[in-house]
Symmetry: C2
Subunit: 424 residues, 2 copies
């Protein structure tokens, strides 16, 4: 485990590129010698594909791997809300891509963030983009992957350029309204009053593949229609089609989609250990039922892969209180079996998961404590409410109507961000 006090972390400073300072990678990383350079194409591909629901046009990636090159992958996130534990689901995949020797671009979609909420001034959204950059970097560093092949790009840095907008106009003239609607069907609200931007965003997201110069885009399976549209649309403008990596929709800690109405139930990345434990104890985890079990899912999609990246794919469940040896799992299927048989009870599982989360959060929080810049950004990105309110922390913003919008957006974001819906 990476402990906050044993692994000093470097937080990326300004600029869109992540820090190049690497966290020491344990020798037991699944890729030979801890380096993707010496791993076989098959090993690299297996890590890229691990836990994905689907890969579209995977041969594009395979070819690059066979040639010993670095597949370029992008993942986009609108910087509207505030990243929480659910972000570990895509973050783990990104960590695996990096470990497999991919170049990863994280698009901080600030324009989208701004447009989704015209009530919030652009400055706030920019501060949030900065917060996202800090927190995602710290998450990945905490997991222990090198960040030299990770870069962050702000949407506003190119989505307003003359070339980009001309391509957007072009795409709008070769993509039908019907197809744009279909492409966004699962990620854009389909109502009578839906804003036109809902039809425009799929086009932007497709164009981003070209402008971010990637070989593949990563997202949740809810993006499947958009991804298959991208395959068709880019060649219409003379651009090459990309591969697509689809993460499954992971159940949240409250079962099914995450509850967005109760912000307190979400585990913030800066929550202290006791708060994490309290929130996990409230999580829905019906005994003997592994389906739609958010707590088990968090082990499957976050804790086990994170442990593997650190060189030891293992999840331990303490039973000291019962005077028993700990349960030690190296695969989710073992856990599912024990859980179905009630050997692994929710009462045993939950503290173990809380411990695992806290171990992931510790380095992030240490980095936060060490960075005055990040702390200042946090205050600017999520300003405390002007008046005293009952629930103060991470809630109010001083912008009327924003709170509710934020929660809505956080929910929507979870649904689109590579299946990040693992916490409550």
């Amino acid at each position: 485990m990476v402990e906050a006090d044993s692994t000093p972390l470097t937080v990326p400073s300004g600029g869109v590129t992540g820090t190049t300072e690497q966290v020491a990678v344990p020798a037991t990383l699944p890729l030979r010698n801890g380096s993707s350079e010496t791993a076989s194409p098959e090993e690299r591909l297996a890590l890229i594909k691990e836990n994905l629901a689907e890969v579209l046009d995977g041969e594009i990636i395979e070819k690059i791997l066979k040639e010993g090159r670095h597949p370029k992958i992008y993942w986009g996130t609108a910087t509207t809300g505030r990243p929480h534990c659910g972000y570990f689901v895509p973050a783990i995949k990104i960590a695996q891509y990096l470990a497999a020797g991919c170049d990863v671009t994280i698009l901080l979609a600030d324009i989208h963030g701004f447009l989704d909420n015209l009530k919030a001034p652009i400055e706030l959204v920019e501060q949030r983009a900065e917060y996202y950059r800090f927190v995602i970097s710290a998450m990945l560093e905490g997991i222990g992957v090198p960040l030299d092949k990770l870069k962050f790009v702000l949407g506003s840095s190119y989505q307003k350029s003359a070339e980009y907008v001309m391509d957007l106009y072009k795409m709008a003239s070769v993509v039908s309204e019907h197809d744009a609607k279909k492409a966004g069907a699962e990620v854009v609200k389909q109502t009578e009053n839906a804003p036109l931007s809902g039809l425009l965003y799929p086009l932007l997201q497709v164009l981003d593949e070209q402008y971010l110069d990637v070989d593949a885009q990563f997202g949740g399976v809810d993006q499947r229609k958009l991804f298959t549209a991208a395959k068709e649309w880019l060649p219409k403008l003379g651009y090459k089609q990309r591969a697509h990596l689809l993460n499954p929709m992971v159940p949240g800690l409250h079962g099914g989609k995450m509850s967005s109405s109760d912000a307190d139930s979400k585990i913030d990345l800066l929550d202290p250990p006791d708060v994490v434990l309290k929130k996990i104890k409230k999580a829905v985890a019906a005994p003997k039922v592994v389906e739609e079990n958010g707590v088990l899912a968090f082990v499957e999609f976050v804790l086990l892969p994170a442990a593997a990246l650190r060189g030891n794919r293992e999840f331990r469940v303490d039973r000291e209180r019962d005077g028993l040896e700990p349960l030690v799992y190296t695969s989710i299927s073992q856990m599912h079996e024990d859980y179905r048989n009630d050997v692994l009870t929710p009462q045993l599982l939950k503290p173990a998961v809380a411990k695992g989360i806290n171990e992931l959060l510790a380095p992030i929080q240490a980095a936060f404590q060490a960075s005055k810049e990040w702390q200042e950004t946090t205050l600017k990105a999520y300003p405390p409410p002007p008046k005293k309110e009952k629930k103060v922390k991470n809630k109010g913003t001083g912008y009327p109507g924003l709170k509710k919008k934020e929660e809505e957006q956080a929910a929507a974001q979870n649904a689109v961000d590579g299946g990040a819906a693992a916490t409550s």
Copy 2:
């Protein structure tokens, strides 16, 4: 009458602003002293409103006139096809705006032109925009209005700017898909396969009011829904609402909407007098029927107002062949009465209209002959077909599929360009 040999014309050279050299204005121009500066606000308003079907929020213009200022008006045209005699319908209104002391901006929508036909390279569309500039300037100069308050603006000069596109994104996020579709209902084809651009263009057209910094937009009544949408949408972005000047839909010379399938029936602005006469003789003009009579409509919306602008609102119908005095009209109602009673027969009317058209065309053609630049632009904008074809003139372009598209677009353009559907 302004004769080509008595009134040397200056053709505007490069740059988006029209020539500032003025054609001498006859002393009998309806506005006192031939100058809008000394005309009363009421006189100026009457000229602005003449023959319009409707004015929305006219008080915006009235206020400016009362303050002795110059209302700023814009008219947009996509530079896809080739202007023909139907363009005199909006051109006369523009001439009246200029005579009434308005600042007029003509938007040469080159991006739209390019996007409407991705098969045509952008260079062709740019050359066409240049051709439009030449021909519209010559039309207005031929009518005899000063052009110092006229300017041409290329859409591409600002519609790709970061500010503009950010506003476009913003507008897309506050305008519903439903409202965008409704706004474009009469000017955009509503089919299952309609491109998304059809929903985007109404937003651009609305934003153009702000970016061209005008007080009013001029267009055909088919744009009414778009104009009323503009009133709602601009304030959503914090911009002021504008007035709207709506031209009626004027029947073409073949009755009803112009026939677009027979390109030969259209009167090109460079057609020689005998061709004009031949085409007019083919025009539909049922005896005694004034409704949907394109030939009479051309007198009403072009020839009489043009004569008035030149100081003598009069339309003469020669009857020398019958040994009778000419019929002299100063209003369309007199003509309608005589036409209903068959005093003014189609056989009498048509040669008189052909003569009137040729008088309008003469200065344009003289300007064309005098301008090597314009001639070169014409060749580039409408390149002759690479192979010998039956119909050579002004048709082929060397780009497969373009011909048909062009005709379709010409028809669509007629339907949107301020009611320009007066010729066949």
